[in-house]
Symmetry: D2
Subunit: 338 residues, 4 copies
């Protein structure tokens, strides 16, 4: 009964089917019919013209998008616990050719205009200090928290005011949209987001993520940078097929709702143990070493997490599109019974 992460879950059958339907030879790279359909498919999703392209990983998606936003001598502002800061092996430094990350605070790994402003305040406008060129936020956040459209818009307004691009790392974007039940445009382009890493791998895909550009001029740069990074696969149609299978018939939201519901069920019995409100598909719990051991003995697998001050220990539990309902129910009962 694995609750390690959603990033190694099985591939959804409809995604498999779409990949197999793409098996007939077509033009290489992104010249095939499926890849060529991405702009329109995402355009439908966001109700406006967009430019969209596939890559293999969220790291590549995030860093390619950022590389179009920030010059090598510039900086991207992100949360101190943002994935790009802590878990991408320095990929932002690689793709941006050495730009800096400016780290800001915020509960639940959520930035706010106030924390962004505080992080920017000490940066004199001169060449000795690295100047910010973009903000990156994660939706849902690294703590499974969700920005409302209004919260994104407040950051978007600040970004515009400061002449900064706004990037959204949407590795779990589907979970956030499902949680808020809002239009995907409302928490992105209408709130000032210029580029979105649209996650598929954690949501039933195999090896494809999308980058969606609302600001058109960024995409052209990324087409070159993607090739240069060795991310332009010759059989790109198999990546496009995955993405289209998820977005063209609503599968992305079905999957995300299932994962969210499982997390909510686990959280329901966790009471005061919850370290963060459970907005999406991640549950962070206070858990003593003995309690963690007991759960593991009962067959539940999950990661330990850094305990906050005063807590005896902590854990992270992640649900996926295919979390087994019986396992989820058993885990919820086990936690409630601790």
């Amino acid at each position: 009964m694995k609750f390690f992460s959603d990033n190694a879950a099985s591939v959804h059958p409809r995604v498999w089917a779409a990949m197999q339907a793409a098996d007939a030879p077509d033009a290489g790279y992104d010249g095939d019919a499926l890849s060529q359909r991405l702009d329109a498919a995402f355009g439908d999703l966001f109700a406006r013209p967009v430019a969209a392209l596939w890559v293999a990983t969220g790291t590549a998606a995030n860093c390619l998008a950022l590389s179009a936003m920030v010059p090598p001598y510039g900086a991207v502002l992100c949360h101190r616990e943002a994935h790009i800061e802590t878990d991408e092996g320095g990929a932002p430094g690689f793709y941006t050719h050495g730009a800096k990350l400016i780290l800001a605070e915020g509960d639940g790994a959520k930035l706010t205009p106030a924390t962004i402003t505080a992080a920017l305040a000490p940066i004199r406008k001169d060449v000795h200090r690295v100047q910010p060129h973009a903000i990156s936020i994660t939706q849902a956040t690294e703590y499974g928290r969700v920005y409302t459209p209004g919260e994104v818009a407040a950051i978007g307004a600040l970004a515009r005011e400061r002449n900064l691009w706004l990037h959204m790392d949407g590795a779990r974007f589907a979970n956030a949209v499902a949680a808020l039940d809002c239009h995907p445009a409302a928490m992105t382009v209408e709130a000032g987001v210029d580029a979105l890493s649209f996650g598929c791998v954690k949501n039933g895909g195999m090896s494809a993520e999308a980058i969606v550009f609302f600001a058109d001029d960024l995409a052209e740069t990324v087409l070159h940078a993607r090739k240069r990074a060795g991310h332009l696969q010759s059989k790109g149609r198999y990546l496009a097929a995955q993405i289209l299978a998820l977005i063209e018939d609503g599968l992305w939201l079905e999957n995300a709702r299932a994962a969210n519901a499982a997390a909510a069920e686990i959280a329901a019995g966790a009471g005061d143990r919850l370290l963060q409100p459970v907005d999406a598909n991640e549950v962070f719990l206070v858990l003593s070493p003995a309690e963690a051991a007991a759960l593991r003995k009962a067959g539940f697998d999950f990661y330990d997490w850094t305990a906050p001050a005063g807590a005896p220990g902590a854990a992270r539990l992640v649900t996926a599109w295919n979390s087994n309902p019986a396992h989820v129910a058993a885990l919820a009962r086990a936690i409630a019974a601790l």
Copy 2:
């Protein structure tokens, strides 16, 4: 009847089957059982301990390997028509942080000790000139030519003498091994090759290539660089599955032999039109515009190629593991009848 390239061919059924067999969740990234088996599987293939890892593209394979061989202030020597020079969108410059490519000559895109020596001769040993640190050769070459083990060994000896690493871009390595019917170790590690980009995508795979390191200390660097390049996929087991399906039961050679045989059949009737001996699965032909149009009218698709001096035109025809025998025969007849 498409003879554009082998790089967009369908995925072999046994590769599909292996991917589907990998669908059960396992550890993320390269911690799964399949990824963990790569070193041993390639160790069996090359009859010695090696380190092997997957990436999504040949460009990433080549450039990651080179990035471990050359410092940013150094250079890699390659053929003037090497894929890394002409078709990777500047990826070597990205992965090596700006190292140079030193271009050398050679018929059929094959380097020789003499052409390598000639290219290195003008490089004074001082800090004003960029110094070579590695040689990269392509097997089979960009013109479908094959280096014999002895030819590789001669380059390998030169590399050792000059204290240079030796990399082999084996996007069509299987075709070369099939063509020579030699042990894969004989044309690589035993001939002085330090790292090999082992191609799968052109040979029945979908989205996985392997990098095989014979010089152990290079692999550690590349593990970090792969992550940093956004090439460490979280569901890496699907890539490992493809590679293992190809190499563990000899499918890689079956597929390559089929492609080579198809090319040989086409070449058989081409006579003096051949611009290069057909060693593997690529056929380069003199073809006038009228002849090319006639073939296309007959239903054959292929790329035009730069005509050599004196020729009215040229074409490249590439066969794949699944080239349709009837199409191949028809093409052979059509060419012979021109």
Copy 3:
């Protein structure tokens, strides 16, 4: 009466004289007799063989040294207020091709084994986290504080234990040596420092800093990197002349002692206003806006500084090798009289 910084002070007459004595043509770049003397001259200073080379700025010195210590996918640990983090315009990211800076704490911009260990603790040893490869400390620090040889040695021991290189940014190294009256080797090579940026510009030089390598294999890399960074000046003899003028006859310590003494005189009357002990040639004071205005009205120029919590304001005053004794005395009196 300027107390802005020591970095724009006049050039010492003996430095001028040495430059003019170098005016006869000699070999270009670093092939001239003076440049060739640097290794030996610094070898005498540090009482052991070293490799030394000139560059134009402290930023280049720091970042070239670090570039030889850390791979692009690695990190350098430094203080949160280190010059390389806050004031070099992202140069470490440029020279290291995107390596990260890991920020650690410490009073007066001084690192300790404890603060270093705390900063390293959360970094799991895997490819998702950027791994540390070096530590950089500043001597004297950005707050004019000095590490004792024992303090450096404790950091050096930690560095060795963790397999990290140790770099010292010695933009004001002379002031630190003068303050402690110790042998320069005692606070560097004997304490585990592998490379030192030896500052000259703030200490009577014009346009030359030295990088001194105690770990020999680093220098070879930097010779290439210096050229590649456009820092190998063709008339390098004028840079070597400056450095030799400072170090061969003890001028570097004379100048530093004069600057330190001036700072001590200013500090003597400052009492509780001092934000940091005045170890070298920088004085950080609590100063209300009104007091700052009064000093400026009296003709003293200096920079405002970020006030610590609870303070009405703060200022930084820096003395130099040629601080006018009358100005210094006047400033000391003016501060004491506030």
Copy 4:
């Protein structure tokens, strides 16, 4: 009697005087009065508003300018024997973060629209090929040849047509202007040049070159990049002083004329030995080993050069602003007498 290079000649007395006049403390970096005067001084020289800044070397000047013109995934076209290709230790790759150099042909290291067009012709417009973004020409060239304003304008027109920036490496720009006796604007901005590396070090300066931007938006980028490259010296006034001493009273042309006249005198007796017309201050000669030895025995120092096909040997002789007239006359006689 040294004719090695102009790059290690003595500093002109008026340049020394200007540096010493700059000794009083002023604002740091480029905030001083002299640095602030550069835009206006070069504006006068080129008869229009320009942006100008100092750096320490021609390599830094060239590569900073190019870094503002070409994205990391792009390319700069230059001559096969351009200094940026052969003698800058890979600095273009460093400053541009890995952009390529596309090499073109041309007698005397001079590009022409035809050779540029030929080099660009094979570059398909797709992401697999690195796309050109700029052209760089050297004036006077690496063979001491000079482009006429009309020749530059023809290249400038091609650049505009192809949407490419045009950079001029003017390490010996003064010699070219002196040779043609034309207005400096005529062979730069009026001919389509966007940025000029204006050389001073080879022409009586010590350690300062200027970058002059005719296209205003490039300068802002370079201000950041210069700092990031460690080229923003804190005592920048000494660099500005050198440049102003050369350009404000015509010294740059006096010095260049002297060097050119010396080269012309040497060339006058060289007859058929000349490998290139002597347009500026470099003389390339056919010289057998025995002849070279004879000249050296007579006290003349110079570099051997790569002999063209059929020649027994070759040499390069370079004159400088202060070439000793007696030495020049003696050399001219010695060559004529061979």
